[in-house]
């Protein structure tokens, strides 16, 4: 008798999703789907608003990565204004984006995924969370909290708020950095370095415990998309995009924000509200690709900071050619945190970082503009059209989760086939399905978070959709 297993909602994600596994008569997985069940609608309700309001409006999409939305939106606005922003504004925005990446990666790695890594995929769900980590390894728990606090404090120092700062605007930033704030950030760096070193060493020590997960967590070869700076250097804020094939060869390079819609398309599947991005030249789904930390480390030629470059060299020993297993998103995230700490220090020591010239002003000089940035989860693109008065007529956002959507669904099928047996359902099997999704750290409806207990319900349905059994936790 065939069955359907539903995991709804998937826990320890940004937002809410659902996993559905279709089993055949023998209880073997035949198909799997990852469904995003929420609708946002920011593109629609922003119509009619002035374009210069868009950064603050769009940042509300996400409570975890608002800086990336601020940045992409501000850059789209700057394309409409047709201005170049001051050098110092670019540098300050880079610090904010790095700080956000650090705190977001810390949340993903330490709060959401380290329970699986530390306590095991088969551990009791009642202990598989940050409290369980605190009890089992307080040192790792403190490192995670320290890194998240580090990133949040930098954002707060720059923009006066930890979340949804209005400091980044079309044209630059609203306020220059003060010497006092610069010194405060510099003073936090040694502890942050200690914490990430500790986390990297610990992670590498437990990596051999997960050969099965490494082999089955979305490890199918795919293309990768990510931002690079000059000379192919790692970049998160101001660069162009490169797409590489599964063997690492560049398919497209130098892609600008203006090019994005010409190069990439979005497909729709009936089971999810999230779209599926693809490279138009190859069509859908053949042109599907992955974005995010794994993609960025596979694409860049070098990180550009000493310690992160050493870690990149080690990371590239994990596989021959581009690292394909999505399990290694975790490793890539830690390398990016290390880079972020080094890069923040480098930028803060820039001679012009305290310059008061941080904002360009202009009116509407174009009726269309696009901007992108690298969010913690991957490439983020904002595309706007305005009328002559600068009022929004149309907008489109392409988010990282949509670009990883096809890979997540393929990965779900891969891991479910490897671990799930319908006739002997166990928590650890289903947790591996969730854990595979968590490696991508998808942002489903980032600004929405459940209050209280997030129930996980697994439903076994018969061929006529009758409920056979339910497991709750």
């Amino acid at each position: 008798m065939s069955q359907t297993i539903t995991i709804d909602p998937v826990t320890r994600l940004e937002g809410h999703g659902k996993i559905t596994l279709h089993l055949n008569d023998a209880g073997v997985v035949e198909d799997a789907q990852f469904t995003v069940t929420q609708v946002r609608g920011f593109e629609k309700f922003s119509e009619g608003r002035p374009f210069y309001e868009m950064p603050s409006l769009m940042a509300r999409v996400c409570g975890i990565c608002p800086v990336s939305h601020l940045l992409a939106s501000a850059k789209a606005g700057e394309a409409i204004m047709a201005v170049q922003i001051p050098y110092t504004a670019k540098q300050l925005r880079s610090i904010a984006n790095l700080a956000q990446m650090i705190q977001s990666h810390a949340l993903s790695f330490f709060y959401l995924s380290s329970p699986d890594l530390l306590l095991g995929m088969d551990a009791d769900p009642a202990t598989r969370h940050i409290f369980g980590v605190a009890a089992a390894n307080p040192t790792i728990g403190r490192a995670g909290i320290g890194l998240r606090r580090f990133g949040q404090t930098i954002i707060e120092l720059l923009g006066t708020k930890r979340i949804h700062t209005g400091w980044i605007v079309a044209g630059g930033v609203t306020d220059a950095l003060t010497p006092e704030k610069r010194e405060k950030i510099l003073a936090m760096l040694p502890e942050a370095r200690t914490n990430i070193r500790l986390a990297l060493d610990w992670y590498k020590s437990i990596l051999p415990n997960f050969p099965g997960e490494i082999a089955t967590f979305a490890s199918e070869p795919s293309a990768f998309l990510g931002m690079v700076g000059e000379d192919g250097m790692f970049e998160l804020s101001d660069g162009t995009l490169t797409l590489i094939d599964p063997k690492g060869k560049a398919i497209a390079e130098g892609i600008t924000a203006e090019d994005f819609d010409n190069v990439f398309g979005e497909a729709v599947e009936p089971y999810s509200f999230t779209k599926f991005s693809y490279y138009k030249a190859l069509g859908y789904p053949e042109g599907s690709y992955r974005v995010g930390p794994l993609a960025r480390l596979n694409i860049c030629k070098h990180m550009g900071t000493p310690e992160a470059d050493k870690e990149l060299a080690e990371f590239r020993q994990l596989e021959s050619g581009p690292v394909q297993s999505s399990f290694h998103f975790h490793h890539a995230r830690l390398v990016e945190i290390l880079y972020g700490i080094e890069k923040v220090e480098e930028i803060l020591n820039d001679a012009d970082i305290l310059s008061p010239h941080v904002r360009a002003t202009a009116g509407v000089n174009r009726l269309e503009g696009s901007g992108f940035s690298e969010a913690p989860r991957g490439t983020l693109m904002h595309h706007y059209k305005v009328d002559v008065n600068g009022l929004m007529r149309w907008s489109n956002l392409v988010i990282a989760t949509g670009q990883n959507n096809h890979a997540m669904n393929r990965g779900l099928l891969q891991v479910a086939k490897a671990y799930v047996r319908g006739n002997q359902l166990e928590q650890g099997m289903l947790n591996r399905c969730e854990a595979m999704i968590r490696t991508f750290d998808p942002c489903l409806s980032c600004s929405t978070h459940a209050y209280g207990k997030m129930p996980l319900e697994i439903r076994l349905l018969g061929p006529n959709r009758e409920l056979l059994s339910t497991v709750r936790r």
């Binding site: 826990t11 320890r12 709060y111 202990t127 605190a134 909290i145």
Partner: protein, 154 residues
């Protein structure tokens, strides 16, 4: 387990100022700041109490959690002692509650504030507005008195 030897007092406000009475805690701490607080008092207002606040709690001598809830007569204000959770909460997202935060602080840092209290304001509506309902608005002076009394007692 040790108790903090710091002199810092922490006031942790929780709520969403876009959801009616859920913003009561934010309004209250704004009023307290305007009324004037000693330099040793630090206010942190967030939409959720997140685990990283444990690092702040580890450095605090005393803490007052301020929150809004709906399970009581609207406008009622209470201040009670709060203890660390005896068992780990079933934590599956990014936030926790006062008792959970105290437990996390103890497990991670081996210390806890000497004193922890919870000031609760019962709300009437969590609708999509930045305004408080009149009954909660009228209760804020009472809540402010309780908050200031707590500060003076530290």
């Amino acid at each position: 387990m040790t108790q903090s030897t710091h002199t810092r007092c922490l006031i942790l406000a929780c709520g969403n100022t876009s959801r009616g009475d859920d913003g009561a805690a934010w309004r209250l701490v704004e009023m307290a700041a305007i009324a004037g607080l000693p330099e040793t008092v630090e206010i942190i207002a967030q939409q959720q109490w997140t685990p990283e606040l444990a690092a702040d709690l580890a450095e605090a001598d005393s803490v007052l959690f301020v929150d809004c809830r709906l399970d009581g007569a609207p406008g009622t204000v209470t201040r009670t002692t709060v203890e660390a959770a005896e068992t780990a909460p079933n934590y599956l997202s990014h936030h926790t509650d006062a008792a959970g935060l105290l437990r996390l602080t103890a497990e991670l840092y081996g210390t806890r504030p000497r004193r922890a209290d919870l000031l609760l304001i019962c709300g009437e509506s969590l609708g999509y507005t930045e305004a408080l309902t009149p009954v909660v608005e009228n209760a804020l002076p009472i809540a402010l008195d309780l908050l200031m009394e707590w500060v003076q007692g530290q």
